[in-house]
Amino acid sequence: MSKYKVNLKINNIAVSVDEGTTILEAARQLNFTIPTLCQHDDLCVAGNCRVCVVEQKGARLLPASCATPVSEGMEIQTNSLKVRQARKHIVELLLAEHNADCTKCFKSGYCELQDISNDYRIGDHIFLDLVKEKDKERDISSPSIEKDDSKCIRCQRCVRTCDSMQYVSALAVTHKGNNMRISTFMDKPMNDVVCTNCGQCINRCPTAALTERNYIDEVFDVIYDPNKFVVVQTAPATRVAIGEEFGMEPGSRVTGKMVAALRRLGFDKVLDTDFTADLTIMEEGTELLTRLKEALVDGKEVALPMLTSCSPGWIKFQEHMYPDLLDNLSTCKSPQQMFGPLAKTYYAEKINKNPADMVVVSIMPCTAKKFEAERPEMRGSGYKDVDYVLTTRELGRMIHQAGIEFEKLEDEKYDSILGESTGAAVIFGSTGGVMEAALRTAYEIVTGKEVPFTNINIKPVRGMEGVKEASVKIKDAKPEWSFLEGVDVNVAIAHGLVNAKILMDKIKSGEANYHFIEIMACPGGCIGGGGQPMPTNMEIRKKRAAGIYEEDEAMVLRKSHENAEVTEIYKSFLHEPLGHKSHDLLHTHYTPRKRQ
């Protein structure tokens, strides 16, 4: 449908834009940046911080450019004296209720309020300090997310994220007037509410009101502890994002540099979560085929569709929101949590280390992984399987602290063993990736042939659409899988929990005829994770996803079952997927929780 064009002038320059465009967007088209704080490209309009006000000729009020659609003949000034005065005042007001202890703040240098304040040369504060003492007590109840109300500027980005992107609403705007704040149900600590720890709120918080719990010092402590053997694992999505911490383009593939940097930081071994991603496919693929066999051949009551379990934000969401469907969840631990116990059993034995002296650190695009590592069931090795979880951002910070010039590093390779992986593993980092990897392997197990897609790229499961569906027909099944002959394997993919809800409601109502569903808590999958570099938006996520798929295509091996280390671990240690050892080390159970 063609849209009406609206003609207006911004800073005396004529421009013609689609009807419904906001003044802010129109200004951007003319390469005028208007500062914003509550506005975020991923979120609905709020219009409440008022930093983006502009002057409209003939109007008494200064409209908020983020919230005001253009109209014919409008004349806008984005930086008039009137605008500058108002904007300065507004920033001053925000600073008055903001605990501006910038030198001590984790977000210093990454803070949008600080940027605007610097731009406007806000010097001595004109107004009275309004920060409440009680707000300075940070909420560190959650292992994933830290909430500091004294830094909050009430832009409500987190509230909109938690509601409209994630359908969680653990955070809400509460009270009013001088008492208005962003809080939880009954002002409870973050760890006691429905929060999934996805960290999407952190990704959008303009200040340090919401940050990840950071464990940088703890990790440096163990690195420099001569009695500790510290191994690090890196998640698929980190390698296409960490470059952003050093000013590189989103999606830059810097796997080799990241490995080199980790070695320079002093980790004893640099290993790869991608290895356990391949292993996940073996376990989860087998689990799916087993469930299908039990349903179709043995006529058993089996929970289908099967749901992936790699995303800990999604797991907690399901525990809260759909506890009655927990049987549908794959019992596979996430790749991070498969890695931990294998490192402290199989690997420790191989390299002759006492697991008690081993420390497993993971680098994750995710904040929910911090919570996941703390789950009491994640002690399959007899120890805490994963000791510390750092976000991509925290790793970036460590590299900065250590003075390593990341961009100039020569590529290095992961250590062996537990360092080998395939292209199927790296695509775990993007929405649809687990599904694609699973199909590549499962199809080949069942038919002995490659999936019938050009260059085994299963395009229908890729892309940024919130809910994706695809169907793969099984042809020429091997005799032992003959019950699947001619079956259309129906799959669906959702990313972002608001989209997960759509699929879950379909399952609940019985409308769904899927066999297998992949769900990732974060938009775009792990590449858009709550621990990834900021800022984030659709364009950045698309670039990172492109990086992931390039990485896949550049790999020699692109199917999990071709991973030689995987073959070896089954031969010498696990024996078979879903076997006794796997059950002990690689599978888990879930906890029904309340939504309220």
């Binding site: 309009v45 219009g47 008022r50 200064l62 005001t68 005065q85 009275l128 009013k176 001088n178």
Partner: protein
């Protein structure tokens, strides 16, 4: 100057509301709307938007459902006339709503009644039941329900009111879109003050001329005033618009009036020296009806502080200028009073209030500068010392 202190009886006069409605239903919607436009009636809640135009905009929208909302969230300090109107002539309010419904094509009406007036509920429900029966007899499809507020001044702002009706926090919306195109539940909605609806009904009865001939060019007709403070005759008075404050004070003052707050906590303070040349109305100082008189025994600091604390608490809190600005003003005058900040800090605060006026999201924040600047300008010494 002619004496405009004429007392009028359009609002409280007991009339046959059903007869007016019957007569109106014989006419076309456009005819009635034209009469309302012609009369010059402007919204009586305070903002003063031309009522006929509002109805016309709502009528011109295509929608499967439209709504009429009677704004009875009267919360402006010093205003109590809507309660009195609802108490004395509820039938006229209901008929005004039905008339509006007929004009814009709405079959559902709501009265948003502030919680502080919950004691009116039994009486209003009774009146509504009776009214519904009459409408049924006439085969006229219109029904009225009451939504209760729960103690939030800002819900008198029409978009906040609709948010509240939708079960949410009463936070004003971004405009545009305006309620006449996207209001309650996203449908075209006409939100009118209690008093406005009664005037519209009376204009439908009498024609536009009588109303139009009263008042001044920009402020036609009469208006119900809520008079309080230092006055021997506090209460409700319907007066022709266009009087000066001097005429008003002569009528209602106690002989020692030093200031009148016109329009409540969000209105303007006028000092004695300006009574003569201050017109009450849209040309001068508009008011939703609140007229608070203060004599020389009153501390203007206390009065200003009271208004600012009210706004600080009643701000919805979503937008920066209003949320933080109100707090700065409250604490700022206190700091000056206590000598923590120099008197010149008042000028900084006045600049801040100018920003609040132009950069706040809704009328609440935009009007905090009214009392602030007018009281500081007129009574600077009382604020400092």
């Amino acid at each position: 100057m002619e004496n405009k202190m004429k007392k009028v009886d359009l609002i409280f006069d007991q009339v046959d509301h059903l007869a007016i409605l019957d007569k109106s239903l014989q006419r076309t919607q456009d005819e009635i709307i034209l009469d309302v436009i012609e009369s010059g009636l402007r919204g009586r809640g305070g903002a003063g938007f031309p009522t006929g135009l509002k109805w016309k905009f709502a009528k011109n929208e295509e929608a499967d459902q439209k709504y009429v909302i009677c704004n009875a969230d009267e919360g402006e300090p010093g205003t109590f006339k809507d309660r009195e109107i609802l108490t004395q002539v509820p039938d006229k309010v209901l008929a005004g709503m039905a008339l509006c419904g007929y004009c814009i094509g709405a079959t559902e009406g709501y009265i948003y009644l502030r919680a502080e007036y919950n004691f009116l509920l039994p009486m209003l429900h009774k009146a509504i039941d009776k009214f519904h029966k009459e409408l049924k007899k006439r085969d006229f499809d219109f029904s009225i329900r009451i939504c209760s507020g729960s103690g939030a001044y800002v819900c008198g702002e029409e978009t906040a009111l609709m948010e509240s009706m939708e079960g949410k926090r009463g936070e004003p919306r971004n405009k545009p879109p305006f309620p006449t195109s996207s209001g309650y539940l996203g449908k075209p909605t006409s939100v009118n003050n209690v008093e406005t609806l009664v005037f519209a009904l009376m204009i439908a009865q009498e024609g536009p001329t009588q109303f139009k001939e009263m008042g001044t060019f920009d402020s036609r007709g009469s208006k119900v005033f809520s008079v309080s403070g230092d006055t021997p005759t506090p209460g409700i008075f319907e007066l022709e618009l266009g009087m000066t404050l001097e005429q008003f004070v002569n009528e209602f003052g106690d002989g020692d009036t030093k200031a009148v707050q016109v329009g409540g906590a969000s209105g303007f303070c006028v000092a004695r020296k300006d009574f003569k040349n201050t017109l009450i109305g849209f040309e001068g100082i508009p008011t939703g009806g609140s007229m608070m008189l203060f004599n020389s025994s009153r501390s203007m600091y206390n009065i200003l502080n009271d208004y600012l604390e009210f706004m600080e608490e009643e701000s919805c809190g979503q937008c920066t200028p209003c949320r933080v600005g109100c707090q700065q003003l409250v604490k700022g005058i206190e700091a000056v009073k206590k000598g923590v900040k120099p008197p010149a800090y008042l000028e900084e605060l006045q600049k801040l209030s100018d920003t609040m006026r132009i950069a706040s999201k809704c009328g609440l924040g935009q009007s905090v500068p009214n009392p602030f600047n007018s009281i500081i300008q007129n009574f600077r010494e009382e604020i400092i010392y």
